[in-house]
């Protein structure tokens, strides 16, 4: 996109909006591997990147795709890859490396039914837990779940900003239905987009400590060729970048990479609350399911049941403070998700005493309908 690009409105499928959002955010490197239902992200990137002097590489498998974007990110570029469940599983070790070595990157997971090859062409929301805990060990990660094509565009830009600012892998998590849904999107003019970049280290002194940070807990990144001598490793490392097993230094490192998300929570947290103030009941839903919930809460109100909706946009870290302030005083919560009950554990953790929590779970490869949510809401209201 040339610098002078004006705002224009186009019809796009979600996967193309994701690609264009990435380009707008400054992504100039994409490595990927074909997998349904995410392949359109790669296809669009293969067309868009050469136009902006970016690099598109189709790698030989999912692991290589993830490795390549980490290399390119350390090489100084903003990077992205896209995949779906089976590929997301394969990428996990590399995602852990990105979290541990603090390499900015955006990973798109267009969710399909699982486990294993599962339902390649059908939507699901069953990677909620994998997105958070897919790789081993305690690790920081940010997961964003848009619910519309315009939001995929906007949140992809935000995903890059968060990843660059916090030096953390960011997962864009949406389902097949949104990936292939076509909606109108206003592509921002380049001047209208807020772009955040990583902090670059400026002074290549011999005593430079690549993993030392200030109060923000985020170390500066080193641009290759700037004269720094650095050491990057997946082993637990001290501030000088070298591996260590010293309990004190290990503890310091672990707490810093975990705490950095906590202290920047204001930047990360995002959610939508609809009609929650006077509501007796709350629907919690995200992604495609939130669209059905919007209609269901309207219908419920027409029938005299006062319902609101809480929609996490940043799914992980879960917007706990926002949820707790909204759920207080509610009689019941319905959590609708296209899995066997994953986000419900988080809701149950933070529900107030006396608040009933029901799950509405669909695991047949179809989206949840407004009627299903309405029926579950009435059941919740009747039995509460």
């Amino acid at each position: 996109m040339p610098d002078s690009a004006p705002t224009k409105t186009v019809n796009l499928p979600g996967n193309h909006a994701c690609a264009l959002g990435a380009i707008a955010a400054g992504c100039r490197f994409y490595a990927g591997y074909p997998i349904t239902p995410s392949s359109e992200v790669a296809e669009r990137m293969s067309v868009e990147l050469p136009r902006v002097d970016g690099v598109f590489i189709q790698m030989e498998d999912e692991v290589a795709s993830m490795g390549a974007i980490l290399g390119a990110s350390m090489g100084g570029m903003k990077v992205m890859t896209a995949t779906s469940g089976p590929g997301f599983s394969l990428k996990q070790e590399n995602i852990g490396y990105a979290a541990g070595a603090e390499i900015p990157c955006v990973i798109v997971n267009v969710m399909r039914g699982g486990p294993s090859t599962g339902l390649p062409t059908r939507p699901a929301q069953a990677d909620v837990m994998q997105a958070r805990w897919g790789t081993h060990g305690d690790h920081p990660i940010v997961v964003i779940t848009p619910d519309s094509v315009p939001e995929i565009y906007a949140q992809t830009i935000r995903a890059f900003n968060l990843s660059e600012q916090l030096r953390v892998p960011v997962v864009m998590l949406y389902d097949e239905a949104l990936g292939h849904l076509i909606e109108q999107v206003s592509l921002s003019g380049s001047g209208d987009i807020e772009i955040a970049n990583r902090k670059w280290a400026a002074d290549p002194k011999p005593e430079f400590q690549p993993y030392a940070s200030g109060d923000d807990l985020i170390p500066e990144m080193v641009r290759p060729g700037d004269g720094f001598r650095t050491h990057t490793t997946g082993l637990t490392h001290a501030e000088n970048g070298f591996p260590t097993q010293d309990p004190e230094l290990v503890d310091q490192y672990m707490r810093r990479i975990l705490d950095k998300l906590e202290i920047h929570n204001a930047l990360i947290e995002s959610f939508e609350a609809i009609d929650t103030e006077d509501a007796d009941y709350l629907v919690v839903a995200f992604g495609i399911t939130a669209r059905a919930a919007r209609r269901a809460i309207k219908q419920a109100r027409e029938q005299g049941v006062r319902v609101g909706m809480f929609r996490p946009i940043t799914l992980w870290p879960f917007p706990v403070a926002a949820f707790e302030s909204i759920v207080g005083g509610k009689h019941g919560v319905l959590i609708a998700e296209m899995n066997a009950g994953q986000l419900i554990t988080e809701i149950e953790r933070y529900r107030p005493a006396g608040c009933r929590v029901d799950g509405l779970n669909r695991i047949d490869g179809e989206t949840i309908t407004p009627r299903q949510i309405l029926n579950s809401l009435r059941e919740l209201a009747d039995n509460e």
Binding site: P34, S39, S46, Q58, D61, S116
Partner: protein
Amino acid sequence: MAQIPESQQKVKFYQTGTFTVGNRLLDAEHRNVQATMDRCNSLDSGHRACQGCGEALGARFAIDAAMRASNNQLIAANATGCLEVFTTPYPQTAWSMPWIHSLFGNASAVASGIAAALKAKGREDVRVIAQGGDGGTTDIGFGCLSGTFDRNDDVLYICYNNQAYMNTGVQRSSATPGAARTATTMPVGKNPGNVFGTGKNVPLVAMAHQIPYVATASVHDLHDLEYKVTRAMEVRGARYIEIFVPCPLGWGSKPGDTVKLARLAVESGMYPLFEAEDGEITGVTKIRRHVAVSEYLKLQRRFAHVFKPDNAHQLEQLEAIAERNIRRFDLVSAEGEEE
């Protein structure tokens, strides 16, 4: 280099153009499996492959030949891909043999495990094949495949090469030829389509593992294909056969041209047919009527851009590949010409 004995095809009278020999003209022992009572329809009719699918044709002949060679004691591990997708969803389920869908990249490893278990249980009469497309073989499955070769596991791996990821919508694979248009190598810029000088020749890579048997085959010569599968089944250890299977959908060709394209690829030198034992080439199929590379390319929309004047260099690069194949495998020689 020795030529493949033409035992499969002795009949040469009144052939015009196609070189196809009807089974009825052959001695009973030279007829292909499909023309005998031995055929077992391991890949049965009713599946949902596209019209003119080269892979469906190749798989049916290859596996029936393997079934005959193993007295119908055959298990197949199948990678994710077109073959898996078009043959399995009920009610288009087309396999009448024990068949395991593994994942995208691990068919050869799963097959290695099956073979090892059968050996441990003393059931080496049951034979194992693994199969996949070029993406599942040359890209994501390459590491596992190399391991199977390295350990010389008793597995015949069949790769159906249609030169791209057709199942996910025609993206480039490392078997995609230079200049070819795919969904991720669009014909734009100075060098439109796939880049030259990349990709893997997995039959040669397999030979570098010194495995007992490696061959290439094509769906235009089904006698030769069956002969090679049968030959592979006579051997124990890791074996690799790559079958050239045109894809009308991905190549932008007419469904009725599938066999013709396979023949033109071979006769132009773009796809050499050979076999190798223990890392050494033991036979090549000579080109009987050499055709220009452009004859092969012009039937495919994926190469349409190479005929534009600006892209003449791409046509030359493709022709150079064919010339190199002809030189390397000695594909054209006096006795190979039309008699």
